[in-house]
Symmetry: C2
Subunit: 328 residues, 2 copies
């Protein structure tokens, strides 16, 4: 019997979930919910209803897992506890500092309703978190490094767009190659913020704006750019749309650690992602987490989980027997 998936929110993440559910032989899309007027949405899967978010409560017996595709800033802190009272849910909450409070709110709601909720799925938090936990457990004596990019940072692009005189902008976070190499070579460097990543900005000006003043405002912006080596390119809107509309991203997680009676043996664990589409990879992970949620619920589990709590085999549609025979 296939796992029935609901999608709450039909932006980049919702569209990615739809594709990933379509690629999963053991799942079917039951319905898409939106806060917009449902009649304005055109989804890709034939025969699947598009409904108002306010109707979700009528679908509790037709959906096994609801995948919440809202944003972390304002949507998910409200939505995840709300829908965990009705459904097994999965979200991609990615504000690292606020995960403990989000976990507590979702856990209370899910426990009360006897549902399973898996939060903070994706690649960071998500696969990168898994890599950090495995590597720290195996090599308790060592040092962690996480690098992001090359990829677009939405928050930094937004910060530039808020500057007066800027019409549009995209900001790339780029890991410093020499820093990656030093970590890879086991040098265990102490790296400042500036030594880990550079920032490259592509900016479209409003008519009559002063490029020198705007460049200065960008590179000196506290928190966002002041601590980095930042390059600013002024380009036309056509060029921005043509060359900088992609959603590629990626990054690297390292653990550099030692074992031995005198810590004389050095080990390097490296995990990296190169992703053409950040939202499609993220949603591919969300869909695996939904599969695990439905299995854990079937076993009688309830409450809030993260990917750190999911047995890896539960993410796969293959049986334990098939996994042991082919991938172990």
């Amino acid at each position: 019997m296939s796992i029935k998936i609901g999608i709450m929110g039909y932006g980049n993440l919702g569209k990615g979930v739809e594709l990933a559910v379509g690629a999963a032989p053991d799942m079917e899309l039951a319905a898409v919910f939106t806060r917009r007027d449902p009649s304005t949405l055109q989804i890709k899967t034939p025969g699947v209803p598009v409904l108002s978010a306010s109707e979700a409560a009528n679908w509790t017996d037709k959906i096994d897992v609801m995948i919440l595709c809202g944003g972390s800033a304002t949507d998910l802190p409200v939505q995840t506890p709300e829908y965990a009272a009705l459904f097994n849910v999965v979200d991609s909450f990615d504000t690292h500092a606020r995960i403990p409070e989000h976990f507590a709110a979702v856990d209370a709601a899910a426990r009360k309703a006897g549902k399973v909720a898996v939060i903070s799925c994706g690649w960071d938090p998500g696969m990168f978190s898994l890599m950090r936990v495995y590597a720290n457990a195996i090599l308790p004596n060592g040092k962690d490094y996480t690098f992001w990019g090359k990829g677009v940072s939405q928050g930094h692009s937004d910060a530039i767009r808020r500057i007066k005189g800027v019409k549009n902008a995209k900001q790339y976070t780029i890991p410093v190659e020499s820093a990656l190499e030093a970590v890879r070579n086991g040098e265990n460097p102490e790296l400042s913020t500036r030594q880990k990543h550079t920032r490259e900005c592509f900016v479209v000006l409003e008519e009559g704006a002063d490029p020198a003043a705007i460049e200065k405002e960008i590179v000196t912006m506290p928190n966002y750019f002041a601590d980095y080596d930042t390059t600013v390119h002024f380009i036309s809107e056509e060029e921005l749309l043509k060359n900088h509309s992609g959603m590629a991203h990626g990054g690297f997680v390292f653990r550099s650690g030692t074992t031995g009676a005198n810590q004389e043996n050095h080990h390097i664990i490296e995990y990296s992602l190169k992703l053409d589409s950040n939202p499609e990879f993220t949603t591919s992970v969300l869909v695996c987490a939904a599969r695990a949620a439905s299995r854990m619920k079937a076993e009688g589990a309830c409450g809030c989980k993260t990917m750190l709590d999911l047995p890896p085999a539960y993410l796969s549609e293959k049986s334990g027997e098939a996994l042991r025979a082919s991938l172990l």
Copy 2:
């Protein structure tokens, strides 16, 4: 209360487990068991008894997890089911093709005794298996690549040592750099055995042996060398002991896959290990698996498991709360 660990067998693996238990704040070494005369063994941890393997059955209430440090060829197929009837156990059984039958034998014994047994822990099988399972679940449409090395292959070194006229030998398995690059670049190459790895042999001859004949016998040896580009170096025994006694190893796991309505978005997942000591890294994983086994047992689980079944957080000595706050 700390987890009490027993070690069965005190070769390279047993010694590595002893070091890894010493590095774990939540574990203590209870006893070391050996098939040799216990009085001939000198272990590193003060105050821990060294006992004959035949005495193990008297220790069932003093050991939480017994880590089995025998070899996969003949020891573990017998030992793991035998000791799973008495203890929670962990092993590093690494004969991939025979894992299903080993699993079945261990599962029957562990279920009957109400114990948890975790088999095939280490890095391949082990961490590499986890990477393959996660990556296949996330990217169902894609291609897997596993490369090993640079590192010593015990089986291939042994095969050379069995040749008449060879006094000693070490064989390194080396991944082909251009093949790694092609995979990393998303070219999805079809790679023959010869295109993935080369083999480099360091050989010490017996007095009067014919180097040309022995080189030919090595490079044409079916299964072991005939399908590879193999280089043979003849060196002195002093040189072999001085430069080729290390136990470094490592390797790479890739998944190259696509998502999107027309599979237009390409993603590369890469995991790699560079290990100064193959046995010490392997045993660091075994000890994490022992921690997970003791937690699963405390929750009422029993039967045979692999790393694919262990919730990642159970491998860590940190609480779920601490992991969410620091590593998620």
